[in-house]
Point group: C2
DNA sequence: TGCTCATACCTAGAGAACCTAAGCATAGGA
DNA sequence: TCCTATGCTTAGGTTCTCTAGGTATGAGCA
């Protein structure tokens, strides 16, 4: 009954970040934090497995890069990822409207 | 990657329904369906355990009633439930704003 | 009478997703 | 040298929803 629950909503957020161009995991985490105004400060153990899952589903592709002696895995939105993002945006609208309707309603 | 995800957001919805007055489980399910415009058509196996949990947490109280020969358990929002609802409304606003910010942003 | 449907509740176990916590590795600054 | 930031990985725990089964009453219909 305490913390924020992204449960089930992380996928579209990640896809949306990658809509602006390829990024590696660490940068994705940073973008989520920045764009959310510090609301989503997600642990690596949350985001990395999600990236693996999305790639396994064919929504992302990834390549390794070495930058400044350090290795990164850069993710890119696949065609199917774009389609999925559009669908998830619609689902979010539907979902959040429904929640708002119930939370707002003082149908006394 | 398919269905809607209420995960972690059911509690405030139930509390909000009970804000309008005491209701039994079956009626709560119906209210969630009606107020959401059929978006939330939740199975009993989802809602009943949630009600038990919320009561265990002291956010709800319940009494048995017999109506037309059938037994019901009628739930009422406890004082702590009201407080929790207010907090959860604020959290939802914060959460949904953050999601919207990320999903909307084509920060190209 | 027997059947089905709506009402009304309960719960065990499966499945999914996030988080904790640990580990590994490099670069750079104190 | 040590610490911090960067960067990735994964095992296991927790929590929540859903599936699927069970129980029971009342009403309508054949």
């Amino acid at each position: 009954m305490s913390t924020e629950q992204i449960k089930g909503h992380l996928d579209p957020l990640v896809l949306a970040v990658l809509e602006d161009g390829p990024r590696h995991g660490y940068a994705i985490i940073e973008q989520l934090r920045l764009r959310s105004g510090d609301v989503f400060d997600l642990p690596e153990g949350t985001v990395y497995p999600a990236l693996h899952r999305l790639e396994r589903l064919g929504l992302l592709t990834s390549v390794r890069e070495v930058v400044g002696g350090r290795e990164r895995r850069v993710y890119r939105l696949a065609r199917r990822g774009r389609t999925a993002l559009a669908a998830r945006r619609r689902e979010w609208t539907r979902f959040s409207s429904a929640v708002n309707a119930i939370l707002a309603a003082s149908s006394a």
